[in-house]
Amino acid sequence: MEAKDFLRYQRQIILPEMGDTGQLKLQQAKVLVIGAGGLGCPVLQYLAAAGVGQIGIVDFDVVNLHNLHRQILFNESSIGKNKAHEAASSIKKINSKIRVEIFDTLFNNRLAIDIVNQYDIVVDCSDNFETRYLINDVCVLLNKPFVFGAIYRFEGQTTVFNFQNGPTYRCLFPQNKHTEISCDEAGVIGVLPGIIGVLQATEAIKIITQIGEVLSGKLLLCDLKTMNFQHIKIERNESLWKHLIPSNMEELMQRNYKINCETEDNIEEIDVNDLENLLQSSKNYIIIDVRERSEQPKLNMDSILEIPLQELEIKWNDIPLVENIIFMCQKGNRSKAAASIFVRKNNDKKVFTLAFGIASLPQHLVNKNSEKGSK
């Protein structure tokens, strides 16, 4: 170890459990952080500071003003820029010695197959169930441990899944039957992802350095209102999920991780290509942007109606019943909720939602002027 490195890490190297050996393990470790939002920011910050040799960052979203109260790697000049790039430049300022790999795209099946195997540990800092089940399955197939963290308002959950044949996420919730409740929608106290993210970083460091007892087989529940922290014991039970996960990488590639809502026959989820085709072939459409009015980037398309999700129950009647109604939000979660509300009010009307939301749109469909310095 170089003298300068020794100085940088001296306060943790002098820990008897750590020593030179532990620090070397950190330098040789490769950790993939999926999601550079509330959880991802503190995870990245502490892993970089601790000297984890290679860090991968996956996030396709851009920084918004309303992220800044909790996503502490960003500042006002980050607004409109991609989170993976911004987080990378921020942690390189903390530690220029580490290698940072940036994936400014969606974590989909293809990316999962391409990159997860190149890392030792995955840290799940995502914000939706589809990604969480994909992370679970790819980690089970590749035998990688993943550090799980999830938050809701004042409460958080964290544990390490798939560690040395320990339980997986599907031992807790075998199937994805859940309705998404995002931080944008539900609200979140800014310190919560900080606390849960730091716990996730701690577990990643413990796995790498083999210090202490890894939080496997126990789900830690934290309630910041009462400061009650408690463990729930979970056991690995493959009979719950063996038949539910793909049996190999080929099957994983073909697997659709989107939630199938049987009751929502009138809602069709479309991707960016479908959207472009639809916009070109039909003039008879309206786009309903259900984000808060402050959210960036603004859309660069015709026929846009802005109705934030929370106002939809009152304003659904403002939506003209044209042939193609397309609901959009930042990442594709709120638009599904909005579409269900609308379909309930207009029973026969078929509507579309944009999968992965406005953050996944190409440059020409969003208003560059509102992006404040985006490339």
């Binding site: 799940d124 919730f173 729930i232």
Partner: protein
């Protein structure tokens, strides 16, 4: 048997309290009673833990047991 039922996340919010004390024999009966009283539980996928141990099958409850209702969180 008197048991303490503690709530998390959206369940805690919708029920409007942190816990309830209930007289009940086993977890199936408990769930039937709760799902009748709180209809939102019928459409929510949540898990049960008895005395801090996750369970998937009906479990006999003893005096003083603690049952937790755990919804999934997806926020990040």
């Amino acid at each position: 048997m008197e048991v303490k039922v503690i709530f998390f996340g959206v369940i805690k919010e919708k029920i409007g309290k942190d816990f309830s004390i209930v007289k009940v024999l086993d977890t199936n009966t408990l769930m039937n009673e709760f799902k009748t009283q709180y209809s939102f539980l019928n459409t929510l996928d949540f898990k049960l833990a008895v005395n801090q141990q996750l369970i998937f099958l009906n479990t006999i409850l003893n005096e003083g047991d603690e049952v937790a209702l755990l919804p999934p969180f997806s926020g990040g």
